[in-house]
Symmetry: C2
Subunit: 90 residues, 2 copies
Amino acid sequence: MGALGTETRRFSDVRRHVEGISQKMLTQTLRALERDGLVSRTVYPEVPVRVEYALTAAGLTLREPLRALELWSIEHLDDIEASNGNYDKV
Amino acid sequence: MGALGTETRRFSDVRRHVEGISQKMLTQTLRALERDGLVSRTVYPEVPVRVEYALTAAGLTLREPLRALELWSIEHLDDIEASNGNYDKV
């Protein structure tokens, strides 16, 4: 969702924005988001076929809560890693 | 996290607040949250032993972004289910 943002992107563009994801996992994820009505998939019958993905209106409304969670994660990552290290030592 | 809220709860109390979760899954989840420093686990050496769980200060800060996500889910559940039904028909 974050990789799409407010842009329309082709599959390879999306993949470039999601670090380390496999082609299979990204395909499954995009399909699940499309099924939920959060991502639109537009096929342009060119040669070669062009397929573009974008967030729908519903998908766009999920950006803010997801972003809040992402910011929380970034802010607390060091503490969580320290806590993990401490826990595993015991 | 939502099941703990601002309360201190015993295992069975937490479980009552998480619909349909197995004992094993709840144990694993609480342990992972404890490892991350988001939940504290206090053991009172009574007979029988009493164990209480509570959100830590860090855990409490996660409540708001999680709650925003929960509200989004509640708000969009019907649309998502309708979209799923529509997608599966095609």
